[in-house]
């Protein structure tokens, strides 16, 4: 019989074990499906983790891929920290992307110095608007935000498809994707010969700002207090609903800017595949980062590493790219399960009957 018992204090060896164990578990658990696909697990993981980091060019590709995850990971972490379960970052990101496209198609002729800040602001507002209804329902009427934020994700996707099949359909080739946006809105590249764009830098700056707010300001303290225990926070005089509303809307704004970054930085137009479930991956990022902002930065890059690796594994090992999703989901579940060991230790006890027969004098020794 295995059960959990509260740990007194954490032993020294625990931390390294907690760091390594999920990785080993993930490897063991995913080795089966990888073998079933006819690939060698070791080779696959070499592809997933090491290959993308083996050249400067592909490192930049990893950073580019990490950009939307940075935004959604931050968005989710901010909300979760405050005890607001925003699982609608996907919809909020799409809202930002739609807004950016709206500006890019309709508000033409601005200089880039005005256009770019404007479109970022507009995307943030769109994210806030998309986050507003669930946030108000939660803080004013106490209606569960998990469900409402989740349900607005398919709605946002349908809105995008509606626009792409209707008014924004590309007039030149009739594909369900928008015409290219006005170049004034296009994010400049950070490097001459790579696609890595301003969005990545914005995400990093946002990460620093959010990190400072959460850990070094009274606002952040209030947010954390509400997240830990709303009752205690209320007792301490914190306006719980207001704080939570702020975190929820801030979360939406960050996700919305993520949408702008995808349109103005990466694609230059709106497409149906503008979000590859980034809002949900954001939950994975924030969780793996244990809601720490520094963690979000590292985990985004790690997951992007796996995503880029999974893409190249398609070509080289004929391993379906969805294996990347399986690996990240497994890693996340292993991490959250293993993290329980921070507070609890496993106690293995034999069932009572077995125990008695073992301790009966003579018997065991005779057999030996």
């Amino acid at each position: 019989m295995i059960r959990f018992a509260l740990r007194g204090r954490q032993p020294r060896w625990l931390l390294p074990v907690l760091a390594v164990l999920p990785i080993v578990l993930t490897y063991l658990l995913t080795a089966g499906p990888i073998r079933a696909a006819g690939a060698n697990p070791a080779a696959a993981y070499e592809r997933y983790v090491l290959q993308p980091l083996s050249s400067v060019d592909s490192v930049f590709e990893v950073l580019l891929t990490s950009t939307p995850l940075l935004f959604t990971g931050l968005a989710v972490a901010v909300a979760f920290r405050c005890g607001y379960w925003n699982i609608g970052a996907d919809g909020q990101l799409l809202a930002g992307a739609v807004e950016a496209t709206f500006f890019g198609l309709n508000v033409r002729g601005l200089p880039a110095g005005v256009a770019i800040p404007l479109v970022i602001l507009a995307g943030a507002v769109a994210g806030v608007v998309w986050a507003l209804v669930p946030a108000l329902l939660r803080t004013r009427l106490g209606i569960d935000e998990v469900v409402t934020t989740l349900l607005l994700n398919p709605v946002a996707l349908l809105l995008v498809q509606c626009l792409l099949n209707g008014p924004w359909r590309n007039p030149e080739n009739q594909f369900p994707e928008s015409a290219p946006i006005d170049p004034a809105y296009t994010f400049p590249r950070l490097l001459a010969d790579h696609r890595l764009h301003l969005g990545f830098a914005i995400a990093l700056v946002l990460a620093i700002v959010v990190g400072v707010i959460i850990s070094r300001t009274p606002l952040g303290l209030r947010m954390r207090a509400v997240g830990r225990s709303p009752e205690a926070a209320r007792f301490a005089g914190i306006r719980v609903e207001r704080t939570m509303l702020g975190a929820a809307l801030g979360s939406g704004a960050i996700a919305g800017i993520g949408g702008v970054s995808q349109v103005a930085g990466l694609q230059g137009q709106l497409t149906g595949g503008i979000s590859d479930g980034f809002g949900y991956t954001g939950v994975v990022v924030a969780t793996l980062a244990t809601l720490s902002v520094t963690g979000v930065v590292f985990v985004s890059v790690l997951l992007a590493d796996i995503i880029v690796g999974a893409e190249s594994a398609v070509r080289v090992l004929q391993l379906p790219p969805q294996m990347g999703d399986v690996v990240t989901a497994t890693l996340m579940l292993c991490v959250v399960a293993v993290l329980v060991l921070r507070r609890y230790k496993l106690v293995v006890r034999f069932p009572a009957a077995l125990h008695r027969s073992r301790s009966r004098p003579g018997l065991g020794e005779d057999a030996a």
Partner: protein
């Protein structure tokens, strides 16, 4: 009139997957576990049902395959939330991502991302009789599952244990009820029902599999459970309501009056109706006492 009859018939069909999933989620949540893995379980159930049916030629074996997958997903959620006591939101989203990822992985492996075959699907009973022309699973869902679930939760020993564990696990434990076993049992039942709900999509309605087949129906089920305040008959009503709006929007889409309204906005309508219904009816909802709370003996 004929439109209305067609509407009712269509609503019953599209309510069926929701009915199974919602009742599965309902019994699980009654023990205090929010299973956000439901979307993934439904997806994996739909895919597993399709895969087994496609390779054996029997929709019944497909259904069995879906049930097995549903049980496994319940077991996974149990391991995470009951045994390990992991945060239920996180465990559920992770399970959903894992199951959708695995389904699409196998799909790609098996069919190379190209066309998937049509399968022999369940036939309709009472052919050509309006409204009564339905799948067996629809009849079972409404006429057997719902009353049985209602009775089980209300009158059976298992139902009593479920409610006791969901309201006050400490008291239930003190009364000799195993919290762990009850929660696992509810997760297994819930997982199996949810997977059947998913399999209805492939084995009965569609006769094939497409990506994003569940399209957020799992999330809808979670909303319906709150809307129903964890009671069986309101949950049945909620499933019919969503399906009714869904059937209505399909009717509107082919009617000439609404020709100019974009198709996608009509598809979004049922989701918005659910959010609106929650906004109106969701005030002051009393959650099960131990909702989201893992239980460990002190």
């Amino acid at each position: 009139m004929t439109t209305l009859i067609a509407l009712v018939g269509a609503a019953l069909v599209s309510a069926t997957p929701l009915l199974y999933a919602t009742l599965g989620e309902l019994v699980t949540e009654r023990t205090g576990i929010l299973n956000l893995g439901i979307e993934g379980t439904m997806y994996a159930g739909a895919f597993a049902g399709f895969l087994v049916a496609a390779s054996t030629g029997s929709p019944w074996l497909g259904l069995l395959g879906a049930v097995v997958v549903g049980l496994l997903s319940g077991l996974l959620m149990g391991l995470l939330t009951v045994t390990f006591g992991v945060n239920q939101h996180v465990a559920g989203i992770g399970t959903t991502l894992l199951l959708i990822g695995l389904s699409e992985f196998v799909n790609r492996l098996k069919y190379g991302g190209g066309a998937v075959p049509q399968i022999a699907k369940f036939g309709l009973l009472f052919r050509d009789v309006p409204v009564a022309e339905q799948y067996l699973l629809t009849y079972i869902g409404f006429l057997v599952l719902a009353p049985v679930m209602w009775w089980v939760l209300r009158g059976s020993g298992f139902g009593l244990r479920v409610r006791a564990v969901g309201e006050n696990p400490e008291a239930a434990d003190a009364a000799g009820i195993s919290v762990t076993r009850t929660r696992y049992a509810a997760l297994l039942v819930g997982g199996a029902l949810t997977a059947i709900g998913g399999a209805v999509l492939t084995l009965a309605i569609l006769g094939s599999f497409t990506l994003n087949i569940t399209a957020g129906r799992g999330w809808v089920s979670i909303a319906l459970v709150i809307f129903a305040r964890w009671r069986v008959w309101p949950a049945v009503f909620g499933a019919l309501l969503f399906a009714g709006v869904d059937a209505l929007q399909l009717q509107l889409a082919i009617s000439s009056t609404f020709e100019s309204v974009p198709r996608e906005l009509l598809i979004a309508l049922p989701y918005l109706v659910v959010v609106a219904t929650l906004a109106i009816s969701g005030r002051g909802v009393r959650y099960p006492g131990a909702y989201l709370r893992p239980y460990r003996r002190a």
